[in-house]
């Protein structure tokens, strides 16, 4: 008979209980509440709901399409050619993607745009260009150049080569990028709330309005069910394309041609400068409009209505630290289970732990309000904020640690066992120290996610314990140039901290890669 290893059971219990109680159970409560509301039929709000649903769908589709169109020239340039500053260009393109949504919203408001669909679409493109450029160029730069050369020799013009050879090969990557962008824009909350108000509400914003402003929890739950359905369809499409993705014709390493002289050089330079220039306009405007020491000094004062920005900063940093710690513990134990080669259990864990990634932050926050009154009422505790943030961050910690754990040669663990280490000590002395290095990147992700998290926080943060994003939102909601100045200044600070952490992660990752 096999002995039960209690230490292992304890390791598996941590992520199971965490995801089970803080994710699966709240989602189940939302489903029950929402489905019974749908069963009873919406009372007289069908027209608005239909409008909201339709708007969510078409703005997401249009945002996705626009993002691909805007990203296409840049993707071509960085995939095909090796040139000075290419890495910098890639880094700059990625900056908007890591910024918190409230910062993106504030940056667009700083341009002087008014609440409109156009502003939402522009912000979505701004935010997601990096997804398309990075996902598609990862594949494009690895296409075996002899395929394209063969087509040229057979008489195809450069354009025909793209249409007949390159584009068909890229289709899986384009589909994957589109699914991700669609998912992000379909569940977009902060940007839509700030740039669209309630007039241009998506499902996310409407869930927030019904639940927080109008206290109609059943209706909000019904909307969340519709939302979950949409997310599931997008995820399913994404998974299908992942499966079909064939890699037999790609190379191990990226192959880029040197930039030829003449007209082509100017086209590439123009494409790169224009794309990056456009992306930098909102950020540059935001920063220039806050270039006054007075604004930053005012952050030290307490606003009689909104509260103290300094305190919000302190709260945010504290929550981020706690969320990071929780996400690390849950993420590393989960990664241990996933890589433990326990057959179905490992595969199942791998899938379940990715779910919070696909679910919207608003659903997470809303779920906490609906469900966490049982078995004891947790809804008043401050712990919920870092827990919600950790929930969103766990998939990132898992993703950054699983490859390292898988890469540990089994002989290391076996050698430790022959030297007298029992299983728990093998984990403590071999797995844990090795994975800790990779976990640094996951920890950085968790920290950044927590700092900028707005969707879930807006449900559970009390006015007395504001975070940076919720306070920025409250400054934005109040009319007047002074409030707007405060919002912009806080947004710049938040953006600066985020960018610094991401830059550190980028270096840590590059330095550690392939060490073991």
């Amino acid at each position: 008979m096999r002995k039960i290893r209690w230490g292992w059971v304890a390791v598996a219990a941590v992520p199971t209980v965490f995801i089970g109680y803080f994710f699966a159970y709240p989602v189940a409560r939302i489903l029950i509440l929402g489905l019974s509301e749908i069963g009873e039929g919406f009372s007289g709000v069908e027209a608005r709901l239909f409008r909201v649903g339709w708007f969510t769908l078409w703005q997401a589709a249009l945002s996705t399409l626009l993002t691909i169109v805007v990203a296409a020239p840049m993707t071509w340039a960085v995939s095909t050619y090796e040139f000075k500053g290419r890495r910098l260009a890639m880094a700059l393109v990625t900056v908007p993607f890591v910024l918190p949504t409230v910062v993106v919203g504030t940056a667009f408001l700083s341009l002087g745009v008014s609440e409109s669909v156009a502003a939402i679409l522009a912000a979505h493109v701004f935010f997601n260009v990096a997804v398309v450029v990075r996902t598609v160029s990862a594949l494009w730069s690895r296409i075996d150049p002899s395929l394209q050369e063969a087509a040229r020799v057979l008489g195809a013009s450069e354009w025909r080569v793209f249409r007949e050879v390159t584009f068909p090969l890229l289709r899986p990557a384009i589909a994957a990028a589109s699914s991700i962008v669609f998912l992000f824009t379909f569940t977009s909350f902060g940007v839509v709330l700030i740039l669209g108000g309630f007039r241009h509400a998506t499902l996310e914003v409407e869930i927030y309005r019904q639940a927080v402003t109008l206290f109609d929890l059943p209706l909000a739950a019904a909307l969340a069910v519709v939302q979950l359905l949409g997310v599931s369809v997008a995820l399913w499409a994404y998974a299908r394309y992942q499966e079909r993705r064939s890699v037999t014709w790609t190379l191990d390493r990226a192959t880029r041609q040197p930039l030829p002289a003449g007209r082509r050089r100017w086209v590439v330079a123009g494409v790169v400068t224009l794309t990056i220039g456009l992306l930098m306009v909102p950020l540059a405007t935001l920063v220039t409009r806050t270039l006054s020491p007075d604004l930053y000094l005012r952050l030290l004062q307490t606003d009689p209505v909104v509260g103290s920005p300094a305190e919000a900063m302190r709260n945010s940093l504290l929550f981020a630290a706690v969320a990071m710690a929780i996400a690390l513990v849950v993420g590393i134990t989960a990664a241990t289970v996933i890589t433990s080669k326990r057959g179905r259990l490992s595969t199942w864990f791998d899938m379940v732990l990715m779910l919070p990634l696909g679910t919207s932050a608003v659903t997470v926050g809303f779920g906490f309000i609906v469900a966490l009154d049982w078995p004891i009422d947790l809804r008043a505790t401050l712990w919920l904020i870092p827990i919600a943030h950790a929930l969103v961050a766990v998939p990132f910690v898992v993703r950054s640690t699983v490859p390292t754990l898988r890469a540990i040669p089994p002989e290391l663990r076996e050698a430790a066992a022959t030297l007298g280490a029992k299983p728990s000590r093998v984990w403590r002395h071999i797995d844990l120290p090795i994975v800790s290095r990779a976990a640094g990147v996951g920890a950085g992700f968790a920290f950044v996610i927590s700092l900028g998290e707005f969707g879930a926080t807006s449900f559970i943060a009390r006015p007395t314990t504001p975070t940076m994003p919720t306070m920025i939102f409250r400054f934005l909601a109040r009319p007047g140039q002074t409030s707007f100045g405060m919002a912009m200044t806080m947004a710049v600070l938040l953006a600066a901290v985020t960018t610094l952490v991401v830059m550190w992660m980028d270096r840590a990752q590059a330095g550690d890669l392939g060490r073991f």
Binding site: E414, A415, A417, T418, A421, K422, H429, I434, R515, F516
Partner: protein, 231 residues
């Protein structure tokens, strides 16, 4: 005394070892000789408890150790690729077994172990800065430091170049001979086997086809294959 009794090992449905049966008295060094892929490594891994036999028994001093988990068997195993811990220093690697055993004055014992393999002063070095020969010596020191009841070396010189092999062969056999160690050395190289032990077990396709001293085997090989492989 180590005793392996009519042991079979099946891995994912195919027979890796069949009817393995031999005895190794205390203080003796045995060499298991056979071409690559004949199941030598699996035999060591089974004795160490890393692989469970499908039938048969492994006994130490007359008692079965099959129910003793690897970490309590006190059987040392030096892995073919050395399996040095990349995140630890040389001293931490060599001291690992002592630490697990709850020993005291680990530092002094580590220093002794390193001196015995000619690497004194290497304590603080990182594994990635070591040459192939240095890694072999660290792995050997790590295996011997906790004084295991049984030492098993899996192709101890396999990954080294020719000149280094000669040098380390002498050193390794000196270390094994000096301490009255009970040891099994696995190798595909006849000269290595002969240099490290006077008792051989010749393996082929998961079976031990002949045992005895080199002279005995040479005098009366079990079949043509053994004859060709040995001479």
């Amino acid at each position: 005394m180590l005793r392996v009794e009519s042991m079979d090992v099946y891995l994912s449905g195919s027979a890796i070892l069949t009817g393995i049966d031999f005895e190794l008295p205390k203080g003796e060094v045995a060499a298991i000789l056979g071409p690559s892929g004949c199941g030598k490594s699996t035999l060591l891994r089974t004795i160490a408890g890393l692989v469970a036999p499908s039938s048969g028994d492994v006994l130490w001093d007359g008692g079965s150790v099959l129910d003793v988990p690897t970490h309590q068997r006190q059987f040392g195993l030096m892995f073919q690729g050395y399996a040095l811990f990349p995140h630890m220093t040389v001293a931490e690697n060599v001291g690992f077994g002592l630490k697990m055993g709850g020993h005291e004055s680990i530092d002094a014992q580590v220093a002794d172990a390193l001196t015995s393999v000619g690497l004194s002063g290497f304590e603080r070095r990182q594994i990635e800065t070591l040459s192939g020969g240095e890694r072999q010596r660290v792995a050997l020191a790590r295996t011997l430091a906790p004084r295991p009841r049984l030492v098993m070396l899996d192709e101890p010189l396999g990954a080294l170049d020719r000149n280094l092999r000669a040098e380390l062969l002498a050193e390794t056999s000196r270390l094994l001979a000096g301490d009255q160690t009970t040891a099994i050395v696995v190798t595909h190289d006849r000269d290595e086997a002969v240099a490290m032990s006077d008792w051989l077990a010749v393996m082929r396709s998961g079976r031990i086809v002949q045992t005895g001293t080199v002279d005995e085997i040479l005098e009366d090989p079990a079949d043509n294959w053994v004859h060709d492989f040995i001479s």
